[in-house]
Symmetry: C2
Subunit: 454 residues, 2 copies
């Protein structure tokens, strides 16, 4: 019996758990889920015998050590900042570790110890980061294997609502942490590389510098640049690429409307609003507009941002009920971002029957034998319901598959790592296809940014 | 003989020094100027016997202590962060201290020690902060003395170029630290109070939310909000005021053009531009615009910011020569703000014959016997030349007058303080009039922001 410990059992663990439980007999697995609250896990485990839940407080050193000691491999689905506590015990008791989070400097610092003990600490193996790394590296390696020279790499991901549940003017609902959506793009200029030129976009322009993207069968989307586009340029072996650009996918028109909040200062999380607990939604909006004894909040906003009478962005604002003078903010000493989040959650929270959708799109431009080529690859995953969401599927399945592959010694290279080697991405992407997590690839004319030089 | 030590002898000390030297015989003063470089001071002192310069490195503890020991009063004209070193020695050797800088938390923490020793540590006694405090408090106290209830206080200051030297399209030159001009308004939303409503303006809107201001004889100006408008609300005893708003004065049209740089992200000081040393001005501008193999940097900028063909802001950009592909940035690893500053200094550095101008404007709204009233007070000071600038005059004279008043025991209340008490502002404002630093007051109809309720 191989023992798997999953620490943390939030919403994103449904598919992870289901995959391992489904294989528990054939693969001889026993799964333990440890958390402060194990109700979600209990529902999924049901009456299965090869699994159990335990109460686990990771700050109780004895509890944590005991749980890790009795496992063969540990999966941490905790918030990213807590992984390091788990990782230290995994080194002491010599257990493999898997997380879907970015490698923190503290985690990276463990690399030599992890390697020396022959352990695999696999990180960034969810959706984004995760499937993005694996699917990109698979195509990049293939192009390089045939002698191609990569000149362009673009990669975009979006967590959206599925078409059938898409019933608001923003074509958007919160399918993931709402706070991250409100704060997206803050903290410095977005930077990327276009035709060998570094480009910088400040926050206040980010949502106006979007580009369109067509996905066969799913229509048109738009992209805004990620702040950290160049983070993986070296990791992907693309130091000499001319264009390296990563972004976030939204339905057309979202960004232009969102920019209203950015421009008025409502996404700011750096200060608190005086007397926010006694404010109506209307008062909140008015705090970002000039005082007038006569003019309406509506007209002041239209005038400040020059919104025409027949502009659909206006209807998007109305739909959110932001001018309501009865609905109260009800947050004491709230930041603008916290208050805006509350207002948005009234409208953008997923309903019981809503389904989510994950969209990922890569573009690979390359030169081969003096000719320019381009491969576009896209993945669309739809959620089944509120438990088995597309987000839980695309985050949880790669984690689960990696765990089993490590147990089965298909993945053996030790160290703190992310899934960019063939040893890792080949078996995982292959198996993901069985779950309809699949990339559609097509050759297209090389578009680039320099059509005259093609 | 009363001995005055002035530490730091930058450009802003010309009037300060001249005032004290002119009084050195009648008031029996001896002035010592200590600095790393005393050339500027030597020119002003000339062959006068009651003054000398000394080499002074404030990080040489012995030198500093010796200099302070042999003085009766110390004036620190150092950059603000260095005052605290001087202040500590002033407590040890029991000397009064004067600075024109904001009271830092470290300075404030000395209050009880300073008070216990009967010393006066007078801060914020330059122009802004300084003359703004004194002139505002004088009128506020007068209104309160006759039983008036203050309902509105607005205060604006600007360091500008005088009309006769005003020969560029921006109607602006650097008369003070250029870096502060480039970074103005950054670091958080501007916050102020209008008719009992808190208003917040994010940085990207700050230069589009300006208001106009007319000064008799000098024409029209515009104002953008200071970030810290409410900082002195309590100090001025205005906790119950309905409107409290402070701002910076520019000539009409400056802010709308400046907003182009803000919007494109060129005032950002939080990251460095790759390869900036090899960039032309044109390359720098292009880094904030989308890539195109064909479209010009000019048209891309016009399009991004929707600048019409006949908009004067365009001519302002052209005047700065920002599209020049021969002029090199020449700064290694420069931030956008550093590079923009360099470009601006080509055009906005004061010429040898240029004169500067200081403008200050207060509005006081109050109720008395059921009627609403308003007093407007403005001050305009013109520079004489590049040594005797309006900035040096309005910063240096209040410092000098305060120093003599303390020596002459006209100002005696001990402690770390700013000039908001009658004991301080009355004699200083009175004497400033002899130097044509004078406020023109007039009663105007109460404007407020609520004309229907007047």
């Amino acid at each position: 019996m191989r023992k798997i410990l999953i620490i943390g059992s939030g919403k994103s663990t449904s598919y992870l758990l289901k995959y391992l439980l489904d294989k528990s007999l054939s693969e001889n697995l026993h799964v333990t889920v440890g958390d402060l609250d194990t109700n979600h896990a209990k529902k999924i485990i049901g009456t299965l015998k090869n699994a159990k839940t335990i109460y686990l407080d990771i700050f109780d050193k004895t509890l944590l050590a005991d749980a890790i000691k009795s496992a063969d491999i540990v999966i941490s689905m905790l918030p990213a900042r807590f992984h390091i506590e788990v990782a230290k015990d995994c080194i002491i008791y010599e257990k493999h570790l898997i997380t879907a989070s970015y490698v923190s400097p503290e985690m990276q610092a463990l690399h030599h110890d992890v390697k020396a003990k022959g352990l695999v600490f696999m990180n960034e193996i969810g959706l984004d980061p995760g499937i993005d790394h694996m699917s990109a590296m698979q195509v990049l390696d293939r192009i390089r294997d045939i002698g191609g020279n990569i000149i362009l790499f673009e990669s975009f991901t979006g967590g959206l609502v599925s078409s059938e549940s898409d019933n608001n003017l923003w074509n958007y609902k919160f399918t993931w942490n709402p706070r991250n959506v409100v704060l997206a793009g803050q903290g410095g200029a977005a930077k990327f590389l276009q035709e060998n030129t570094y480009k910088y976009i400040p926050y206040n322009r980010l949502f106006r510098r979007t580009e369109f993207l067509e996905i066969d069968g799913f229509g048109r989307f738009e992209i805004y640049a990620n702040r950290d586009s160049l983070k993986y340029q070296s990791t992907y072996g693309l130091d000499k690429v001319k264009t390296f650009y990563r972004g976030t996918i939204r339905r057309i028109g979202f960004s232009r409307a969102w920019n209203i909040f950015v421009n008025l200062g409502m996404t700011d999380d750096s200060y608190t609003i005086d007397d926010s607990e006694n404010m109506s939604y209307r008062d909140f909006i008015n705090a970002f507009l000039p005082y007038s004894p006569t003019d309406s909040v509506e007209l002041k906003l239209r005038h400040q941002l020059k919104i025409d009478q027949d502009d659909i962005v206006w209807d998007k604002l109305i739909e959110l009920d932001i001018f309501n003078d009865k609905k109260m903010v009800g947050i004491t000493k709230g930041t603008p971002a916290q208050i805006l989040q509350k207002i948005l959650m009234d409208s953008w929270t997923l309903g019981d029957n809503d389904k989510d959708m994950i969209v990922m799109y890569h573009k690979f431009g390359y030169e081969l034998n003096g000719m320019k080529h381009q491969i576009d690859a896209n993945m669309v995953v739809l959620g089944e319901n509120q438990t088995y969401t597309a987000m839980a599927k695309t985050v949880g399945l790669p984690v689960a598959i990696a765990a089993l592959a490590i147990l089965n010694k298909k993945i053996t290279t030790p160290g703190v790592q992310i899934p960019v080697s063939k040893e890792v991405y080949e078996p995982i992407l292959k198996e993901l296809k069985d779950f309809d997590v699949v990339f559609n690839e097509k050759e297209v004319p090389y578009h680039g940014y320099n059509p005259l030089n093609i």
